[in-house]
Symmetry: C2
Subunit: 260 residues, 2 copies
């Protein structure tokens, strides 16, 4: 049995805490934090974590938790801790008894055929949901422009359900930096509310980028100069859709056309 970690001065506790709290720290260390049985399982599948803290009796309570426990007990950087200490680190209300710090995956897109660009999407739940939808719709690359919620924050990671391990992500860049990378695309489309072009009139089988903007203010002026605007026609008196919904409807229209 390993020693139970009870001190907040422990190196694993300090690392995880600073990575949970600080975007700057995540960028400097090139690491992020995953929580819960399912996401730590995924993390172990892809790479070796820098730190794992776990509450053995909590993991022992479920078959899936027991499987994960026997895995983490073989990890060099894993240590048991108390429910109280884990709760202090956790970003969720009820911790599942495990949290880990893992290196940012180094993924590069094999081709660029469908790119999602987030232009000021603020809500971490929306950003994470869009990453999950992006993976399911076959997106090759997600770009988070400056002003978008940090793609690697705990809330985004949780909502994305493992997409961080499988979809190449570029974070915190501006158009000047990202445009050369997207130069081979045929077109850039931005979701807006007043466009005359409806989203199902677009040929999404071309190599394209889709830009989804801020929840309240939409896409930036700079995006409007680069992109064709497309809109989702709406019935009723609805003024707009939730940003994650609008982006997902567009991404799955692209996926639908690409299956034909």
């Amino acid at each position: 049995m390993r020693d139970l970690i009870t001190s907040t001065a422990n190196i694993h506790v300090k690392r995880i805490r600073s990575l949970v709290r600080s975007r700057k720290e995540r960028h400097r260390e090139r690491m992020f934090v995953v929580e819960g049985v399912r996401l730590v399982e995924e993390a172990l599948h892809y790479q070796s974590p820098a730190s794992v803290l776990y509450v053995p009796e909590q993991l022992q309570a479920t078959p899936r938790g027991r499987g994960l426990l026997s895995q983490v007990e073989r990890q060099p950087n894993a240590a048991p801790t108390t429910p109280g200490l884990l709760a202090e680190l956790s970003d969720v209300e009820t911790s599942q008894g495990i949290i880990a710090a893992v290196p940012l995956p180094l993924l590069t897109p094999p081709t660029l055929s469908l790119v999602l660009v987030l232009d000021g999407v603020q809500d971490p739940g929306n950003v994470g949901t869009l990453l999950r939808s992006a993976e399911a719709a076959g997106v090759d690359l997600v770009v988070g422009l400056a002003g978008t919620a940090d793609l690697w924050s705990p809330k985004v990671v949780r909502a994305a359900m493992g997409a961080h391990f499988r979809v190449p992500l570029v974070d915190d860049v501006d158009w000047a930096a990202v445009r050369p990378q997207l130069a081979a695309l045929t077109a850039i489309y931005a979701a807006t509310q007043q466009a005359t072009l409806t989203y199902d009139q677009v040929d999404w089988r071309q190599a394209v980028a889709l830009v989804v903007g801020n929840e309240a203010n939409g896409v930036s002026a700079e995006t409007l100069q680069l992109a064709h605007e497309v809109t989702i026609p709406m019935a009723g008196a609805v003024e707009s859709l939730n940003a994650a919904i609008a982006g997902s409807v567009l991404l799955f229209e692209a996926a639908r056309q690409r299956r034909r």
Copy 2:
């Protein structure tokens, strides 16, 4: 100037508090609670509220708030209150300075051509987002089967962005009660993960119901007996989509086909 309400024994305070907290109370009184400038504006547009509490100095801070303030000051059941008392009633972290209790709208669908059935959707944010998408996609009726989050809870109302005033809703019923109402439909489709029928192979121009199930367990066994299963093909290693995303992708495919 009306008297400032500072006591939690005031009738408006008591009414709003019990309606915020209790589903039973909402059903008994046939009323629900709306919060914030935009939703109270909408409520006033459709009907006369039973109670309005507002913080004048907070509403005065914005042009839109000032417009609403002059409206509510003419309402018989509206009274100014303190920020502290409003914060106690509020379901949100930062109140916009206005909250109201309004009667449940009595809406009946003119026709039944596209019906959304929620079968155990648990997260109020998902339910509200689905109501917002349902309105935008032209849904005639939303049915909340027993086991679904209360369609009239404050969190659902907030996420639905006014759909409650415009989309007919039937809450807390079982299939036995709702089937006769849906007898004229051509088919019922349920979103599941393993179906062989993909959602874009369905003719959504027929009169149909779409069933969206629980976030973890999908639709109920009873639904599976009544419905054809449809699935959204997914790339990557994604196991499932968020329930609100999956439902919205299906609803907007229906809307897309119906525009043609």
